[in-house]
C-alpha cells in the first residue's frame, strides 16, 4: 500500500504531460477560441443594409435554412485571402452566404466588393462593431455556421480555406441537412 502511493506522482505527471501534448501533436492553435454562442440563438441585432438597393437581414432571416455568416472588412488583409473561397461558395451555391461588414467605411466596402466580386446574398453594416461584440467576434474574418433554426453551430476564426470548408464546415453542413430529411 505504502509503495503504490509513490507511483501516484508519476502517473499524475504523465497524465498532465499527455493532456498538454495532445494539442501540440494535433497542431491546434491555442489562440483560436470556440464560440460561446455554440448551440445558442444568433444575437438579435437590427443592422442597416450595406447597399441601398440590396436588402439586409436580421436574426429572423436566418431561420429556415443553413447559412454562413461572414464578418469581413475592406481593411482586413486575411479577408482578401479568403475572398476566392467565398466567391466559390456563392457560385456553386454550396450554402446560403450572408455578410456583415465590420467597422468599415461604406464607400470602401462597396469598392472592395466591386473590385473582388460580391459573394453575399445579403449584407448588413456593423459600423461601430457593437453587433460583432454580441456575436463574440474578436478578429475578422470570422465565419459562423447557422442552422435552420437560427442557432450557431460552428465558428471559424481567420480566413476560410478550401481545407477548412471541406474538413470542418462541410461535415457539419451535411449533418444538419441530413437531419432535415428525417
Amino acid at each position: 500500500m505504502a509503495k503504490t502511493i509513490f507511483v501516484l506522482p508519476f502517473l499524475v505527471f504523465f497524465g498532465v504531460v499527455t493532456y498538454f501534448i495532445i494539442p501540440i501533436v494535433k497542431k491546434s492553435d491555442p489562440k483560436l477560441l470556440p464560440s460561446a454562442l455554440i448551440d445558442k440563438d444568433v444575437p438579435e441585432n437590427k443592422l442597416p443594409p450595406l447597399f441601398k438597393n440590396k436588402t439586409g437581414f436580421d436574426h429572423e432571416d436566418l431561420v429556415g435554412g443553413e447559412t454562413l455568416v461572414n464578418f469581413f472588412s475592406s481593411w482586413c488583409g486575411p479577408c482578401r485571402v479568403e475572398h476566392d473561397i467565398l466567391m466559390k461558395i456563392s457560385e456553386e451555391k454550396t450554402i446560403r452566404l450572408f455578410g456583415i461588414n465590420y467597422k468599415d467605411q461604406t464607400q470602401a466596402a462597396i469598392r472592395w466588393l466591386d473590385e473582388l466580386g460580391d459573394p453575399f446574398e445579403k449584407i448588413v453594416a456593423d459600423k461601430d462593431g457593437r453587433a460583432a461584440i454580441d456575436w463574440g467576434v474578436y478578429g475578422v474574418p470570422e465565419t459562423y455556421l447557422i442552422d435552420k433554426e437560427g442557432k450557431v453551430r460552428y465558428r471559424h476564426v481567420g480566413p476560410l480555406t478550401e481545407r477548412v470548408l471541406e474538413e470542418k464546415l462541410m461535415p457539419i453542413i451535411q449533418l444538419l441537412r441530413n437531419k432535415k430529411d428525417e
Partner: protein, 158 residues
C-alpha cells in the same frame, strides 16, 4: 557606503511612482472618478482576446478599445460589476475573464494545488515514519561488529 545606501533609497523611492503602462486614452475616461475607478478595475480583469495575455486596460487593440468604451457605457447606465462580467462571458466565454471563475469545471484548477499539498504531506509523513522505523531497528550483533571493524581496517590499509 552610506552614499550608496542613500542613492539606493532614492532609487527605490522613485519606484513607488512607477505606474503600469495603460492604454486608456484621456478621452475615454469618465468624468465621475468613482465610476472611472470601477471601470479601470473591471478592465484590468477582462482579457483582450486579440492579444490574449493582456487585459483590455493594457491593450491597444481596437477590440480592447471598443470593450473599454462598452464597460464605461454600461457603468454609466448603472450596471453592476457582475452584470458587466456576465454580459461579456455570454458572448466570449469564460476565457475573457483573467480570473477563472469558481465552478464545477474549474474545481480541479482551484483545488488542485491543495490536493498536491495534501498528497505531498502524506508522502513526507510516510517517508519519515519509514526512516524512523529503520533507525530504531535492533543494534548490531557481536559478529556484525567484528566484521564491520575488519572492513574498516582493510579500508585504512589501502
Amino acid at each position: 557606503m552610506s552614499r550608496i545606501r542613500a542613492f539606493s533609497l532614492v532609487a527605490l523611492g522613485c519606484l513607488i511612482y512607477i505606474q503600469p503602462i495603460m492604454a486608456v486614452e484621456p478621452n475615454e475616461r469618465l468624468a465621475d472618478p468613482l465610476l472611472e475607478e470601477r471601470a479601470r478595475m473591471l478592465s484590468q480583469n477582462i482579457r483582450c482576446l486579440v492579444c490574449q495575455n493582456q487585459s483590455i486596460d493594457d491593450s491597444n487593440a481596437t477590440l480592447a478599445k471598443d470593450l473599454r468604451a462598452l464597460v464605461r457605457e454600461k457603468l454609466t447606465a448603472g450596471a453592476t460589476n457582475d452584470e458587466i462580467f456576465d454580459f461579456l462571458v455570454d458572448r466570449y466565454g469564460d476565457f475573457i475573464l483573467l480570473n477563472p471563475p469558481f465552478k464545477a469545471s474549474t474545481y480541479l484548477l482551484w483545488y488542485g494545488p491543495l490536493i498536491f499539498l495534501i498528497v505531498g504531506l502524506l508522502m513526507t509523513v510516510l517517508v519519515m515514519k519509514k526512516s524512523k522505523r529503520r533507525a530504531s531497528e535492533k543494534p548490531l550483533s557481536q559478529e556484525e561488529r567484528v566484521s564491520l571493524s575488519k572492513l574498516l581496517e582493510q579500508k585504512d590499509e589501502t
